[in-house]
Amino acid sequence: MLAEALFFSAVLFTIGVIGVLTRRNAIIIFMCVELMLNAVNLTFVAFSRAYGAAGQIFVFFAMTVAAAEAAVGLAIIIALFRHKQTVNLQHINILKG
């Protein structure tokens, strides 16, 4: 099952990357990042079956970090929305030279 799990994980990660590159909605980009984290977690779980329980511990930590990241990131999105009244990244370009 290791090869199959790695295959599904690779496809899910690539879908996440494509979503990050092609979308402009900040919330959807953020959700694509979560999808990439999930794909990596699947890799960890698949490897932990062959190489020991450390992979599952890593998934545990990755989920904790993802929860923290979601809280802070969504707070940043709310703060951005308060300034700009939009989450479309095309209109959030104050750092552009």
């Binding site: 690779a10 990357v17 979308r23 919330i27 959700m31 977690n41 079956r49 599952q56 707070a75 709310i78």
Partner: protein
Amino acid sequence: MQNTPLFYTFNFYLFGIIAIVAALCFVTRKSPVAAALWLVTTMFSLAAMYVMLDAQFIGAIQVLVYAGAIMVVFLFVIMLLNLGHASDITDIRNQKWRLIAAVVGVAMLAEIFVLTRSSSVPELTLPRDAAANAVIESGAVGAVATPLFTTYLLPFEITSVLLLAAIVGAVMIGKQRGLNAR
């Protein structure tokens, strides 16, 4: 367990294909709410795959934390900011970015397929039933909890500091900056 049962293989592929189809639907939806619900479908399928890979505790945590908590926070923000309606046509980037995305996607898939074909290190590999036997021996939670609270105790404690910092940071960033608030 060299020959995995056909039923097991079929279900593993089924949930994998559900996850990929839901992920494809997720990145192509215009409405953020529909996208979030498709992502929840992907996460549920991944939870099923975790259970089939002998990680029952991680599967339960996946449902509770990802599908339950994180996605609810996402939906909460979408509805708080009133972004539930499908946004305008500028949501998808232009041709140049789509080309970059295609190239990056093909390159990453090729790289990962090459990596998948490489052989694993036989000295490090556990016997095939090791993970299932560990769950039978110490329970689904015990198989994760024992290394978590012995070998990985320090990272576990540092995680609590990280969560505290995240809570304080989220409150400070998201705080309403009104006229009378300082």
